[in-house]
Every structure is written in structure tokens, then in C-alpha cells.
């Protein structure tokens, strides 16, 4: 187990700033995901740690020692790539043994360790198969076993599941987390899939334009986004431009409704324009009975679309303050139809206000 620190990493490709003085501390044994859209610099940061890219400035410290002077083959880091990277001319076992063979480990030790690792990823029966005889998910499992063969200081995963189908992706991400916890290995995981990042990580770092917008536990990042980018990128969100009515009372006006925000920090002044963020699962809809207009909500509206997503159903409502999206349990949503008149309410404490 080793800690990893990225200090002031700066990297430009031509005129494009890939990393903008990025700082990140990963504790020993921690699983940190770098989450962000394409081009945000997450893969570049990972490749700087691996030794495949060299930053223009900054440091990469592993257990306090700068590793930037070391070539990739001397850094003792295990990496799983986005593309299938198994050596086509070697069996699964030979792939896993590869790094041990380079270090001239005895044949019996190599073989034993490789089989243990293949067992760990559930592929001991496929040890003699060539990559072309394995499915995509199996290939990535072998790649994971191969990356772990030399007990690396850090495990680097560069969108390893993005080429797999949805079901395998879910299975494999859970396995990655299980193995990481079992081995206690420090892990940096790059992904653009927020669900993946939130489900497996100890902490998630959300990146945008080469900088970390926010880092925190998955729950913190999801429920307390610090920037509008994080609020919009992580999960689905309703946005509304509102005005601060009373800074001391933490109240804002949203259309006809006056809302009190249950937030500790409220650094705004009376009359400030702020953006209100609200998760769809925090929106409740009330349905009028026997053709009556529903009451009790913040405002009324009409259902414009209903999208069945399995356990939840996403309902879009046109209101006087603009469209509002609500996630209801699918059982609840059965009562709704297009054009149903509904009242819209929000859960107390669910509203987040960020500077516009």
C-alpha cells in the first residue's frame, strides 16, 4: 500500500490545457475515482502517474518520493487499460506471468501466483485460453489479474469497463471493488460514468478543464455539490434561477413560492441571483382527486412526459416556473398520465443554492 500525491500537475498539448495545476492526495489503501467528461484531463492525470505522460510542471509523489524521474517500467504500478491490452500471443496465464517472468521469478512461483490471481478474478478454468478465446469481460479480468501480479504500489484503472455491456460492467465494477478491499491496494480509477464512480469509490474527484471541481465521498459529491458543474454533471438535476429574499433568513423566491433553505453556509446577500439545484428524487408530485385541482404543493403543473426506467419512473412536469423533473417509484407513477394536472413539492433540505 502506498499513498499518492499529485502536486500542481500542469500539462498542455499545444494550446490545450489538459491539466491545470492539479492537486490530489490519495491515502494508502484508498479507492479514488477521477470522474469527468471527455477531455477534462482525468486520463492525462492517470497517465502522468503511470509514466506514459510527463507533466510540464508539478510532482507525482508515491509514498512521498517523486517518481517523475522514473520510466514507466520502473514505477511498480499496475494498470488496466480501456482498450483490450492482453498480449494476443500469450495465454491468460502467460499474460499474468509476464511481469514475473521479466523479474526472473522462478517458474513454480510464477505459475502458482498466476493461478491464484486468476482464481481471484474467477478465471482459473480459463488459464490456458488465448485472449481471442475470452469475452471482453474475461479479458479485462485477466488484465486486472496481470496488473496485480507484482503486488504494485498503486493500481491504475483507465476506464476499464467502458467497452463492456451494461450488465457485465456492473458485475465487474463490484468485483474490482471487492478485490481492492481484499488486497487493500491504493487505487486510482478513471471513469466518465458517474454511477460507476459513485458506487465503488471511497472518494470521487470531479474534474473539469484540468482542475478538480470537488473531491469528497460519493454521498458528499452527490448531495452537496459545491459548484454548478458538479451539480449538473453528477446525477440529474433541476436548475432554477432564483433571487435571495432574505440572506439572514436563508429564503429565496422561486416563482410564486418562497422557500427556506436548510443549509449551514449561505454566503449571499439580499437580492442576489442564485441558481437553485434540486434532484428529481427530491421532487414529489400530488395528483388531484376526481378531477379536482391538486393543492398543497409549491406550484401546479401538467405532466408532459413519462419515462419508465425500471424501479423509478421519470416524470416531466410543465409548471409556471419552467419544466420540473421528478423521479417517482414506478408504482406511484402508475396513477399518472400525460396531461395529468399535478402539484409539485420539494423535500425539505433538498434544495442547494449556488452562485449563478
Amino acid at each position: 500500500m502506498a499513498s499518492v500525491e499529485l502536486q500542481g500537475l500542469h500539462k498542455e498539448f499545444g494550446n490545450v490545457v489538459a491539466l491545470d495545476d492539479l492537486d490530489l492526495d490519495v491515502a494508502a489503501g484508498e479507492f479514488v475515482s477521477l470522474l469527468g467528461p471527455s477531455g477534462c484531463g482525468k486520463t492525462t492525470a492517470l497517465r502522468c502517474v503511470a509514466g506514459f505522460e510527463f507533466p510540464d510542471s508539478g510532482e507525482v509523489l508515491v509514498d512521498g518520493k517523486d517518481v517523475l524521474g522514473l520510466p514507466a517500467n520502473k514505477r511498480n504500478m499496475g494498470m488496466v487499460f480501456q482498450a483490450y491490452s492482453l498480449f494476443p500471443n500469450m495465454t491468460a496465464q502467460q499474460n499474468v506471468e509476464f511481469s514475473m517472468k521479466i523479474r526472473r521469478r522462478p517458474r513454480s512461483e510464477r505459475s502458482k501466483r498466476a493461478l491464484e490471481l486468476l482464481e481471484l478474478v474467477g478465471l482459473s478454468r480459463q488459464a490456458e485460453r488465448y485472449p481471442r478465446q475470452l469475452s471482453g469481460g474475461q479479458q479485462q479480468r485477466v488484465a486486472l489479474a496481470r496488473a496485480l501480479a507484482l503486488e504494485p504500489a498503486v493500481l491504475l484503472l483507465d476506464e476499464p469497463l467502458s467497452a463492456l455491456d451494461a450488465k457485465v460492467r456492473v458485475q465487474l465494477r463490484e468485483e474490482v471493488r471487492r478485490i481492492q478491499l481484499e488486497l487493500g491496494i491504493t487505487t486510482l480509477y478513471v471513469t466518465h460514468d458517474q454511477e460507476e464512480a459513485l458506487s465503488v469509490s471511497d472518494r470521487v474527484a470531479v474534474l473539469s478543464e484540468g482542475r478538480i471541481e470537488q473531491i469528497g465521498t460519493p454521498a458528499e459529491v452527490y448531495t452537496h455539490p459545491k459548484t454548478s458543474f458538479v451539480a449538473s454533471f453528477v446525477g440529474t438535476v433541476n436548475r432554477a434561477e432564483v433571487t435571495v429574499l432574505s440572506a439572514s433568513g436563508k429564503t429565496v423566491r422561486w416563482g410564486p413560492a418562497v422557500l427556506k433553505l436548510e443549509t449551514e453556509a449561505f454566503a449571499y446577500h439580499d437580492g442576489d441571483a442564485v441558481t437553485l439545484y434540486l434532484r428529481p428524487e427530491d421532487v414529489t408530485l400530488g395528483l388531484g382527486r376526481n378531477g379536482t385541482i391538486p393543492s398543497g404543493g409549491l406550484f401546479n403543473g401538467r405532466v408532459t412526459s413519462i419515462t419508465f426506467l425500471g424501479p423509478v419512473t421519470r416524470v416531466s412536469v410543465r409548471t409556471e416556473v419552467g419544466p420540473v423533473v421528478a423521479d417517482l417509484s414506478s408504482a406511484e407513477a402508475l396513477e399518472l398520465s400525460i396531461d395529468s394536472e399535478v402539484s409539485v413539492d420539494v423535500a425539505p433540505g433538498a434544495l442547494r443554492a449556488l452562485a449563478s
Binding site: 503511470a50 514507466a72 517500467n73 494476443p88 500471443n89 509476464f98 488465448y130 488484465a143
Partner: protein
Amino acid sequence: MAAIAVPTSNKRRRGGHGRLQLWHVFWIIVAVLYFVVPLYSLLQFSFEGSVNHHSAGFHWFLTVFDDPQFRSSFWLSVQIALETVLVSNLLLVPTAFWIHLKLPKLRPVMDFVSILPFVVPPIVLIVGLVPFLQPFTFIYSRPEVLPLIYVVFALPFLYRSLDAGLRAIDLKTLSEASANLGSSTLGTLVRVVLPNLRQSIISGSLLTVAIGMGEFTISSLLSFNTFPVYIFNIGQSQAYEAAALSVISLLLIWGIMIGLFLLGRGGRTSIALGATR
């Protein structure tokens, strides 16, 4: 419901199909005759003539085998062909690897350079090379100079074969994976890249062998008695022996090619000849 097209007349369809088959067969026969008739004539000629009022049989072949010049020229050509394969691969495999991995912008330049030997006639090449090579007397006067020249002729075949092989694998990812696992660049080339380029190297080398064994112009101009030069000299005065030599030459080259091809197929990778996966 989608409409299904049904042939209006089975008879017409069958008739049209039959006519096409006839043309197929006709052109195949023409193509086969074009290549087979000269070979058959050569083979027949090599068995013709009479010796002591008996059919020649294998007489011309045996005569040729008995000629010490045959053996020396043949082994010289084999040696030159193998040296050409060795030098070409030593020069081009790392070059192609580096260009693909580190300098992909140079690929179009290499593509252009690699077709130049097709458009530059051998005589032009040798006229340009002689003044350059002459001061290096230790090599210029020895047949080992030929592989150094033949490398140029092998360039289009070997480089293009390697290029196709390298395009067929994800070289960047494989190289990075190898480095991440502790391998040096040379180790990556030897352990990862070469086994996956096996078919490309073999198919390029096959053509290089054919060049090394069959090149006449340059070896003749530089006065080396290689196998093609020997065949030409024999052909000036001994037509039957020349025919037998041509047959032997063809069989040997085919044998070498089949051997190398089978060697390549014996590999565990599924990369097909021409290096496409």
C-alpha cells in the same frame, strides 16, 4: 409487411446463372493456361533430347548437379538471400516499430520511400551505388555487398508487410501494457511485438528470399557468379541444362517458400498471412 422479391422465372434464372458459370470457367482456364503452359513446356524441354540414343530422362538434371559451378553459385545465392533477409529485418523491423509507436507522422513519408524501389530501375540504382561503394574495397569486391543492395529491393515488400502487421495490432496499448509490467522497450519489441508480427515478417521474408535468389542485373554487372547469372551463362550454350536449371530453381524457391509458410502457420497466433488478424 415487407415485400419479398420472387424470381419471375426459375428457368431464366438458371439459364443466366449457367451462362455466368461458363464465363467463369473460361477465364479460369485462360488464366491457368497462361501460367501452366510455359511451365509445362519448360519441364518437358528439360526432359527432352537423347543421350546415346536413349531418352534423356533426368540426364540434364544430373549433369547440372555434377557441375561444381552449379553448387557454388546456388549456395552463394542461398547465402545472399538469407543475408538479405537478415539485414532487411534487422533494419526494418525496429524502424517500422519506432515509426508506428513514436513517429506516426512519418508513416506517409515511409510509405512513399518504400515504393521508390518499384520506380527506380536496378540499373539506375547500381550506377548510383557503384561510385559510393567503390572506396569500400573490403566489401565492394565481395559478394556480401549484394545483400546490402538487395535490402533496397526488399524494402517495399518487407516494409509494407510489417506496416500491415503493425496496423493490425493496438501497438500503443500493447507497448504501454508491457512497459507498465516492467518490460524495457527492447523487451517489448522482442517479447510482445515480434511474436505478433510473425506472419508479417515471414511473408515479407518470403518475398525477400525470392529477390535474393532471383536477382540478375546487379550481380551480373558486379560480376558475381550467382545462381541466376550461372543459369544465364549456361543458357548461352547449353539449352537443355538451362531448362533443367530453371526447373530446379523454381522447385527450390517454391520449396523454401512453402517451408517458411508452414513455419509461420505453426505459430500459435491466429494472425493470417499478410498480418491481418
